[in-house]
Symmetry: C2
Subunit: 341 residues, 2 copies
DNA sequence: ACGCACAGGATAATCGTTTAACCTAATATA
DNA sequence: TATATTAGGTTAAACGATTATCCTGTGCGT
């Protein structure tokens, strides 16, 4: 049924080495011999045993993607872009969900290493990634981080232009005449800090004083979008709307938008008449709300794509023994103006 | 650095076989010997080489998931459920996107087989899956289909209760007094046919004549949700709304809902006052539209979960040489009543 | 005629595990 | 006491490819 290289060699009347050379094009072979080999391959319907080859070559052609929260569509799109890019280089993707738990993330990395993946892409649950130093100590492989900047482990990274994107959003609000602009984010991490910085920068440039009370973050509980409707951001939004005189609201990510928008709907507040609204991170569904939401669109597909490229480049560098400094790539965001401001 | 079983054996003063037996618990070993081995493992920080093991055992512990359209959140959720289930059994998931192209799907399966996956889960682009007969001929592995029923290849399947769900939806509309109910679906395949049948059954039971002109399907072009806003379903909806006296609209899936809802919004039609609306397949974002959409919720996570279980069960059956008949499992849908009807 | 280079191919070691088969001493069975 | 069984190991043959090394014959230059 499943034939080995030996049988091909026998049928072709050559040695297994020759068959291997023909199949891999790794040594010169007389055309006639090559034909005999290929005919034998045809006749036996032979296909190489990748298990054996991987074993021999010490590689698996597998890249692991450890996702902090796979139920978040953002990361599903990153995975999509990553998969596409890796496929071009003959690698395949293994997806694992960390469910926003550091312990699961560590377990996932451990498991992936135990499956001898050739590389790792990580969307970390929290910033502290020092554990990787130990895990990768005796078997270093390329690692790329996406979306969140790690601490305690040097590596390649792919992030959105968080500060610039937020800056653009707030500048847009200011241009529309708003001065009382609040910022809500789901959790204060490096990414959200960058976006908050963009928010502040825009205000400063416009000569508007930064009101610390207008900057709110939710808790760092592990929660899915579904649970977020009446979470911490909802309460912050409620407070901002009822106890402060804000005229515009900038939401730091989709999670926060879920809470904030739910609050706006429940209070029956008119957007953009009563409150202007803009959100960081886009979703297809933002076109289906009333009004459609203006958003700073990220390009998760592209983030995955670039991360894949980085890994593949590192892989060839590893093979050639060269060592480049780590790099950080930013993927540009884009403001999509819709009805909400 | 990376030590092999041989060095462990040497350090422990036993044979490699003994080390293997200890590590796998596959033969009785004196406690004292076991301790010596485990100590050596500790000291050398030994970890088994999975490439070698897989090669030797002829398995990869990998399951491939070939997804007709990975940009569709439904399948991303299926993948999520699948990954979780497989992890419990020590298997890992390889995800590949077919981008709704049969040729890519076939290429994907071929690639996956070339990576020697131990099993396959397929969400087929089209119903004809006879190609699998040939591809799996000389190396049969378990296969499970999700969401769509294949033709030309017998295997396990996991589907939603399409007919029952649609029946429940339409019955609900009828109970609200509607009689002029239209049905739009994105494409006529086995799944959509089942939903249409549920629609007809509900009408028949209520003694309402089935108007063939009220049943519409879009084209079978490969399109993403994003492109669907002004596609065939949009046009059908426009036609139904402007040239017919329907009072309720039942959408067969999310793709159709995108087109139908876009049309309703653009015509500024009030839901549910002017038109009652209900959709098959739920999305978190349906809570964020105005009004929130009543939906027949599917449980993609659970579909993935069950598919994973099926594959794992088949896998042990394969090992034991037993052959069970193929089975079809239905995952119950649930009606979530919101504001749209 | 002699030596050399090289093309084209064969031989065999190797990767790290698993596991069937075999061995030995001790214990149980009759 | 003789024999069977068992516990606890060891040995060595696989698994299927890759690849360094070696071998042989041919063509070429001088």
């Amino acid at each position: 049924m499943k034939s080995s290289i030996k049988e091909v060699a026998h049928l072709a009347g050559v040695s297994v080495a020759t068959v291997s050379y023909v199949l891999n094009g790794t040594k010169k072979v007389r055309p006639e011999t090559e034909k005999r080999v290929m005919d034998a391959v045809q006749k036996l319907n032979y296909q190489i045993n990748p298990l054996a080859r991987n074993f021999r070559k010490g590689e698996s052609k597998l890249i692991g993607f450890v996702v902090c929260d796979l139920s978040n569509y953002f990361f599903q799109d990153v995975a999509h872009g990553l998969e596409t890019q890796l496929a071009k280089h003959g690698y395949r993707l293994i997806l694992i969900d960390s469910k926003e738990e550091k312990s699961i993330e560590m377990e996932n990395v451990r498991n992936l290493l135990a499956s001898s993946v050739d590389g790792l892409v990580i969307a970390p649950t929290t910033e502290d990634c020092s554990y990787l130093k130990f895990m990768l100590a005796n078997h270093p492989i390329p690692v790329a981080f996406v979306d969140r900047k790690p601490i305690g482990f040097e590596s390649d990274m792919v992030l959105s232009t968080n500060e610039d994107g937020a800056y653009e959003a707030v500048k847009h609000l200011i241009a529309k005449g708003h001065r009382e602009i609040a910022f809500v984010g789901s959790r204060l991490d490096s990414t959200m800090a960058e976006r908050a910085e963009g928010y502040r920068k825009a205000l400063r440039e416009a000569g508007i004083p930064v009101n610390a009370n207008y900057i709110r973050f939710g808790d760092s509980l592990s929660v899915s979008q579904r649970d977020h409707r009446h979470g911490a951001v909802y309460k912050h939004t409620l407070d901002l709307l009822t106890k402060h005189d804000i005229t515009a609201l900038f939401s730091g990510n989709t999670l926060a938008t879920v809470g904030a928008f739910t609050c706006l709907m429940e209070l029956n507040i008119k957007i953009p008449q009563d409150i202007a609204f803009i959100t960081f991170d886009d979703s297809f569904w933002f076109t289906m709300t009333t009004p459609a939401l203006t958003a700073i669109s990220q390009y998760p597909d592209q983030i995955g794509d670039v991360a894949g490229k980085m890994i593949c480049e590192r892989l060839v560098d590893f093979r050639n023994g060269v060592d480049r400094p780590h790099q950080l790539q930013r993927i540009a965001t884009q403001m999509i103006i819709r009805g909400s401001c």
